[in-house]
């Protein structure tokens, strides 16, 4: 390990006023048709995948994000023969966790960039079994796929948006059209999972959603889009300056906060499922549920 952080790899999230430097050794760097893909070795966190200069995952802790993105939705309802759609997900971690659920009948994965899956399979080896007969793998634009599904009336029980920041190919997501298609593609009782880095400090800032057409606070507050939008929080250690927030865009108003099945992940458990919905005091206000009357709070 070199001693001077000034010489370490620096993440490209400088517009937020906070970033991080990591002691990384490059293993692979190339530009795909869509983005810069990097794989690095870190002495503590193992292999690290970056897209367009931002950390996507580290092998040592990727399971936190992948388990929480999948198991809260799939354990929050008594699904049977569930149809699951993953938008993005090229590293394969989401697919791995989805395939753990016997209630899943179909697992569609629509990734725009085949190089992400190739590089991940070569260097990270965290992917699920893409040969599983339940898997339907497509390499195409997830936005277009969703629009086609919406037009054709094809629906899914669980849709997981596993995309990069809005600075990358994903910037066309989170528009009025995308949310409309997302809503149209949800089966009755269905749910879509989305996520973003939530920067703490003086007033929360959504790292990816704030530059978008429809910002997270509007989405959380506006019932035109979904019957209910819920929110839970975790922490991804190598996402700088932020909490990691998951959104549940629901087609009905029933709660996902109580697990209906047992499942022991490396991070996830039924107790963790319930605990992640308990937000810090400042976070409860994000979904309009203050933890206490304002007058009883600390100055």
């Amino acid at each position: 390990m070199t001693k001077d952080p000034a010489s370490w790899w620096r993440e490209a999230t400088v517009s937020a006023g906070i970033t991080q430097a990591l002691d990384l050794e490059p293993l692979y760097q190339a530009r795909s048709a869509f983005q810069e893909i990097g794989v690095y070795e870190h002495p503590i966190f193992g292999r690290v995948l970056t897209l367009d200069g931002t950390v996507q995952l580290a092998v040592a802790d990727e399971f936190i994000y992948h388990e929480l993105a999948v198991h809260v939705a799939l354990n929050g309802r008594p699904w049977s023969a569930a149809r699951v759609l993953i938008i993005g997900g090229g590293d394969g971690g989401i697919l791995r966790e989805v395939l753990r659920h016997e209630c899943v009948a179909e697992a569609w994965m629509v990734e725009i960039d085949p190089d992400v899956l190739d590089v991940s399979r070569r260097f990270l080896k965290i992917e699920g079994d893409i040969e599983d007969p339940r898997v339907r793998l497509r390499f195409e634009d997830g936005v277009r796929f969703m629009a086609e599904c919406a037009a054709a009336g094809r629906q899914f029980d669980v849709i997981i948006v596993d995309a990069t920041d809005s600075t990358s190919p994903s910037k066309v997501l989170w528009s009025e059209g995308f949310y409309g298609d997302l809503r149209a593609c949800l089966a009755p009782g269905g749910v879509a999972v989305d996520s973003d880095i939530l920067l703490g400090g003086a007033g929360p800032v959504w790292m990816s959603r704030d530059p978008c057409d429809i910002r997270a606070p509007a989405l959380l507050a506006d019932p035109r889009w979904f019957a209910r939008v819920d929110l839970y929080l975790s922490r991804q250690p190598l996402y700088p300056g932020g909490w990691f927030a998951f959104f549940l865009y629901q087609s009905d108003t029933a709660s996902f906060r109580r697990p209906v099945r047992d499942l022991a992940g490396r991070f996830y458990s039924p107790a963790v499922h319930e605990a992640v919905f308990v937000l810090p005091a400042w976070g409860e206000a994000l979904r309009g549920e203050p933890a206490a009357p304002a007058e009883s709070r600390a100055p």
């Binding site: 400088v14 006023g17 990591l22 703490g200 458990s269 933890a291």
Partner: protein
């Protein structure tokens, strides 16, 4: 004019970088106050980020679970370090706390209280600044403390000045609590306490463990500590429930439901000693 401040190297191989403006610097340069647009005023000691004005999770978790975990009110608190005022301000939010004795030999940290805007905290009539070293070796008499809180960064590092556990045992009431705080790092070979990544040597965690077993662990994350989670542990010689809050308090981060939720430890942290 702003510039990028980079944290001093850590054994996790990851450091935080912040866009900051200078506010104040001690004569030796060891202690600085910087300002970040997002995180407010920052206290920097020996190149490490100790507190940020607008990010209160660490100092709230250092204080509120301990003060809310017991039905009996904590009236006397011993604060080791912390004369900058950040942790003191959290302690003073609890009306039942009658006296806080602050032992902090670091004059440069104490001088930072003014540019941090904490001068009034230090002059609160419930605060008593006591001269002496963190070893407390010049302490005379009984302590009768309900709570001991570590707030000096040097306590977490190997080779720092530490009090003797037997002295602390004498200063604490039998059911008194001692707080410990450390990072948790998920490595490729599993979860490790941050202290295990540093060079070996006694530190505050050893003192706390020698005094009494940990009765409760509260997991949380400070977004300014890249590459890690954090945990506060409450050590106590007497048995008793600490995971369910017995007293109500609502901070900017902490609240009663969070108290209990923070004791839920994911499986990957379960093997930590």
């Amino acid at each position: 004019m702003s510039a990028w401040w980079l944290e001093a190297p850590t054994p996790t191989g990851s450091v935080t970088a912040l866009d900051v403006e200078p506010v104040w610097r001690s004569a030796s340069g060891r202690v600085e106050v910087l300002r970040s647009e997002r995180f407010g005023r920052l206290l920097i000691v020996d190149g490490g980020l100790v507190h940020a004005e607008a990010e209160a999770s660490a100092r709230e978790m250092l204080v509120h679970p301990a003060l809310c975990g017991r039905a009996r009110a904590a009236r006397r608190v011993l604060l080791l370090g912390g004369s900058d005022g950040f942790v003191l301000a959290e302690l003073l939010c609890h009306a039942e706390v009658e006296e806080i004795v602050v032992v902090d030999p670091d004059e440069e940290v104490r001088a930072a209280a003014q540019p941090l805007g904490h001068a009034r905290v230090l002059s609160d009539p419930r605060v008593r600044l006591r001269p002496g070293s963190l070893a407390l070796d010049d302490w005379t008499g009984e302590g009768d403390f309900d709570l001991v809180v570590p707030a000096a960064p040097s306590l977490s590092l190997p080779g720092g000045v530490l009090p003797d556990p037997s002295l602390l045992r004498r200063l604490l009431r039998p059911e008194g609590l001692m707080v410990d705080i450390d990072g948790i790092v998920l490595t490729t070979s599993g979860a490790r306490w941050l202290r295990a990544l540093f060079a070996p040597g006694p530190r505050w965690s050893d003192v706390a463990a020698a005094l009494a077993p940990a009765r409760a662990t509260f997991l949380f994350a400070s977004p300014l500590r890249t590459g890690q989670f954090q945990a506060v542990r409450l050590h106590c010689a007497a048995e008793g429930e600490l995971a369910v809050p017995q007293r109500s308090y609502f901070g900017r981060y902490y609240h009663p439901a969070l108290h209990t939720a923070a004791t839920v430890l994911p499986g990957c942290f379960g093997a930590l000693p």
